[in-house]
Amino acid sequence: MRFVVTKACGGGGRARAGALYVGSCPTPIETPALLLFTKKGLPTFISRDLLASLPSPDSRLLHVSPLHFLECPLPRTISNIGGLHQMLGLHECIFVAAPRDSIESLPESEGTNKLGPSFETPCGRRLVKPKEYMEMISSLKPNLWASLADEVPAWVSEKRNKTSVDRTLHWLDDCLALDPAGGANILGAIVGGSSIEERKRCATKVAMQNVSGFWIGGFGLGESMEERPALLNSVMDSLPEKKLRQISGLSLPEEVLQGVAAGIDLFESTYIYHLTLGGFALTFPLDIVERDIMHSQLSDTGSDCTKINLRATIYRKDTTPIVENCSCFTCQNHTRAYINHLLNVHEMLAQILLEIHNTHHYLAFFHSIREAIKGGKFDLFHRRFIDGRRAHVTSAVPCS
């Protein structure tokens, strides 16, 4: 794989645009980019033929957790079939494997010991040792994969936090030793909790290893949004500019922007999954730099101009698409009224259509981020977006 930084933000900003050349994807993936959440390698509801209707190559970048295959198929069977790309029929997709997925594979730090990290999974609590992990990786053959990490919540003791860094470094050594490709596709895992010193220590040590990029874990586990930038910066300061940085646990648009501002290139996010299951569809405007959204008003549906809840009865007869002029399959073919009906009668098609639209919209958000970086306007974009999100909260509400 090859990663190049194509545009650094400059002016003291750390955001950067890049291009990732990997696998048999014909065009490079432009970064910052979104990794789509998958269950056993496929999106939750979008089958391959519908995935093909989403923008390419943006929608070809998938996050897969090897732990989804703990029960079946066996590594031997997966190898016989030929690995992820063959098993899923997604030859042009790029799979990045990392154990934590924030939905079904949750780091369980209390079960973790020196032998390996522990996760809460649908199969119960499972400890994954480096040898077992590498067996899964070599059968799945993802394009990139993260080494094992001991992710701890923000409130653990200093001692526990320090141990998590020691273990994570140790497991990186183990994974590298067991990797036939010698680190060519590995993203070295970096943890350190809420301690700036430990974050720095871990990042520095991992940076010295022969890895292709970095997987930054331990975020989204209890630290506040306010303390995050300093922690992120302490990690980034210790990493080489030229190598790829992926992060887990920054799901929401505001969190993604924090990550981009710190210099992150790839984001795992489960935002789309949660929106979809809740019956929500993203509607926030994407042309943030161009338009002035300070004057957006709070609508009376309880929606906040960022998303709509299609279960609401006001959509029963709404024959407009979710977002006017959205080119996704859902908006081109169906109305809010229809999706409202599908949700009412508990039909899976509702989730399929919502996941398609939400994926399309969130990918478009990342596209806007990249455009803003390339145009040197990322800080403005960031500020305007955040201010716009808060506008409805701070606008005066008339008292009755």
Binding site: K39, K40, L42, P43, T44, F45, S47, R48, D49, L50, F69, E71, C72, P73, L74, R76, T77, N80, I81, M87, L88, G89, P122, R316, K317, T319, F329, N333, H334, T335, A337, Y338, N340, H341, L342, N344, V345, E347, M348, L349, Q351, I352, L353
Partner: protein, 363 residues
């Protein structure tokens, strides 16, 4: 369906060759409501389906789903599932609702009894069905765009069935359904009713056997002269992890599937069989939504392929050979059920090559 086929989008349905979808009037009238569908321009527009739609009368669901459903000359009385109030579905109202939904084919409200019912009730239901068809015809507001089909009733009694069929044919309807079957009767009784009704219905109009069904049933009914079918079986069985294959069914949940690297059906060219192994589907079924989606997709593709194959074999004059191939795949040991042999004999299809002869010579 209730405005959607389980987990498939319209373009996926078009891809697999689906030409017509059945909409459940009962469910649609409850949610989102017939008036809403009408206000939004009809069901085609509401769900953006560009091909054909058929709605049933709503009567069957009421009788089978609802508490205290009762049938009188006026119509079907039942308790509203929303608030328990007594309600009445008349032939006029059924047609009115179906006019609002706007399907291409609509079904008359019939008085349907289970085939296991005996006594005067069966005859009463048959004659009432004939009286109701006249009320349906009178109430039908859009005969130029919506085709009204009548439904032949009469239980398992050939005399009653004959009276009903002739009565409907006199009304010169757009098409005819054979109803009231698959309520517990044995297979021999089932095919005999289909055979008799098909023979009594005009050659140049569609014959629709309601609620059929299993692939084997469809092949037999087609041999007997039926043209149209509806069934929840393909998608329902998919949700339990069962795939339809030429050999019968494949239970993807079984442990043995966990290491099976073949596609569900090597002879199937659907998106699922072209891309996935049994082993992978096995790990999805009953656990992930995608599992039931992919199986529904395959099962519906299988049914579309079966219909296409039946059609082409008739057009090309090799229908008997197709039937023989179908039976050989399902019954490789030659143990074709007796009822199938009996039906094929009446249908004039020679399947002796794929049957182990049955020892008894019962008719």
């Amino acid at each position: 369906m209730i405005g959607t086929i389980k987990g498939l989008t319209n373009n996926q349905l078009e891809d697999i060759g689906c030409q017509i979808i059945l909409g459940n009037t009962y469910h649609l009238a409850l949610r989102p409501g017939a008036d809403l569908i009408d206000d939004l321009g009809g069901l085609h527009k509401f769900m953006n389906w560009k091909r054909a739609l058929l709605t049933d009368s709503g009567g069957f669901q009421m009788v089978s789903l609802l508490h205290l459903a009762d049938i009188t000359e006026k119509g079907v009385t039942f308790q509203s599932p929303v608030d328990g109030k007594p309600m009445l579905l008349t032939p006029e109202e059924s047609i009115q609702i179906q006019n609002k939904i706007g399907a291409d084919i609509i079904m008359a409200l019939d008085d349907v009894v289970k085939t296991t019912t005996t006594g005067p009730r069966v005859e009463e239901a048959m004659y009432r069905t004939l009286r109701w068809i006249d009320r349906c015809i009178a109430a039908h507001q859009k005969p130029d765009v919506q085709n009204l089909f009548g439904i032949v009733q009469g239980g398992l009694d050939p005399v009653l069935r004959d009276i009903c069929a002739r009565g409907l044919v006199e009304r010169n309807l757009a098409g005819y359904a054979i109803g009231g079957l698959l309520g517990g009767e044995d297979k021999d009784s089932f095919w005999r009713v289909v055979a008799q009704c098909a023979a009594a219905l005009p050659e140049n109009k569609p014959r629709y056997v309601m609620g059929v069904g299993y692939p084997l049933d469809i092949v037999v009914c087609s041999a007997l002269g039926a043209d149209m079918y509806d069934c929840v079986y393909p998608t329902r069985t998919a949700r339990f992890g069962t795939a339809l294959v030429p050999e019968g069914v494949l239970k993807l949940k079984h442990k043995v599937m966990a290491s099976d690297e073949r596609p569900i059906d090597p002879t199937c060219s659907c998106m699922v069989c072209k891309n996935y192994t049994r082993a992978y589907i096995h790990c999805l079924v009953t656990k992930d939504a995608m599992g039931s989606q992919l199986l529904s997709y395959h099962n519906l593709s299988y049914m579309m392929r079966l219909s296409r194959d039946l059609h082409m074999s008739i057009v090309e004059g090799c229908f008997p050979q197709f039937v023989q191939g179908f039976l050989r795949a399902q019954f490789p040991k030659g143990d074709v059920p007796k009822w199938v042999c009996n039906a094929m004999e009446v249908a004039g299809i020679d399947i002796s090559a794929c049957c182990v002869l049955h020892p008894s010579s019962q008719n």
